[in-house]
């Protein structure tokens, strides 16, 4: 699937105003823009694509039914990630002990690089993914929000409903744990 066009703040505001009047085309545009972000964030917490899809579906259904409560002061992506975060945490609590990572095996990547380079990259990606899922979910969430979804520390703290100090602590521990887990797997990953 191709990565969607990035929405600007103005795009978000126009779409949300239209969604408040029941405009399904605006809703579809928002879904196209943020579906991958919401799905991947949920997946990074749940480790299960089917459950991440359910969470993404519920997140966007709530956007449709509660979209009027969105404040134009905040960023729409952060608002969606907060809904997805809360739904994912609820799901984890309901299924405590059943968190598994599906599909961690190496996948060959299409591209111009040699088969050997592709295999190495795919192996490395699988190792990183496996190491990421050894982290406690709060550390994983903090890393994904700040380093993958480009949220500021303040936004990430708001999404996770923690203080900025607590978020920074989670980030520091998450980075340290991830590096430790990767060091045990392959020492040169961080130097690539």
């Amino acid at each position: 699937m191709r990565e969607p066009k990035k929405h600007t703040t103005e795009d978000d505001q126009m779409c949300m105003a239209a969604i408040a009047t029941g405009n399904t085309r605006a809703f579809k545009a928002v879904m196209d823009a943020y579906m991958n972000d919401v799905f991947r964030y949920s997946y990074s917490l749940l480790g299960d694509a089917a459950r991440a899809e359910d969470t993404a579906q519920e997140t966007f259904t709530r956007l449709w039914t509660h979209g009027r409560s969105w404040s134009p002061k905040g960023r729409l992506k952060s608002w969606l990630l907060k809904i997805a975060h809360n739904l994912s945490i609820d799901e984890i609590r309901r299924n405590r002990g059943h968190v598994t990572i599906d599909d961690v095996g190496p996948v060959l990547v299409d591209g111009a690089a040699s088969p050997r380079a592709n295999l190495t990259r795919a192996e490395s990606a699988a190792i990183v993914k496996k190491a990421l899922f050894t982290l406690p979910e709060r550390q994983r969430a903090a890393l994904m929000l700040v380093h993958y979804n480009d949220r500021t520390n303040i936004e990430a703290a708001e999404i996770m409903d923690v203080s900025v100090d607590a978020l920074e602590s989670l980030l520091a521990r998450g980075r340290r744990t991830l590096r430790g887990a990767l060091a045990g797997e392959r020492t040169n990953l961080l130097d690539e």
């Binding site: 699937m1 969604i19 408040a20 009047t21 029941g22 399904t24 809703f27 579809k28 879904m31 196209d32 579906m35 991958n36 799905f39 991947r40 997946y43 990074s44 694509a49 991440a52 899809e53 993404a56 579906q57 966007f60 259904t61 449709w64 039914t65 009027r68 599906d102 599909d103 996948v107 990547v109 990259r121 795919a122 490395s124 990606a125 699988a126 990183v128 993914k129 990421l132 890393l143 994904m144 700040v146 380093h147 993958y148 980075r175 991830l178 990767l182 990953l189 961080l190 690539e192």
Partner: protein
């Protein structure tokens, strides 16, 4: 250091949602809309308040016009029924 982590996270082969997920969500919200009032009616504050005002006007008109249309023993029976009904409604309102 943060660039390292960003690079690592971006290197992961994240799965994609099914191609029909958006279509499923669109179908779900369409179904919800079919089973209730149109979303433009509920979502738009103007139409929502107009709807509430219309319902209130109908209720008041019914209370005012209803007794005037009733005559004879039917009116007495109706009034004797209305007072306890009003009392129960008032009690319920005060209690809630």
């Amino acid at each position: 250091m943060s660039d390292d982590i960003k690079h690592l996270l971006q290197s992961v082969d994240w799965p994609q949602p099914h191609a029909d997920l958006s279509a499923r969500i669109m179908a779900a919200i369409d179904q919800d809309d079919d089973s209730s009032m149109p979303s433009w009616l509920v979502a738009n504050p103007v139409t929502r308040y107009a709807l509430a005002a219309g319902m209130a006007a109908c209720l008041i008109a019914g209370l005012l016009v209803g007794p005037m249309l009733q005559t004879g023993s039917g009116a007495q029976a109706s009034q004797s029924f209305q007072w306890p009904g009003a009392g129960i409604a008032l009690t319920y309102y005060m209690a809630s």
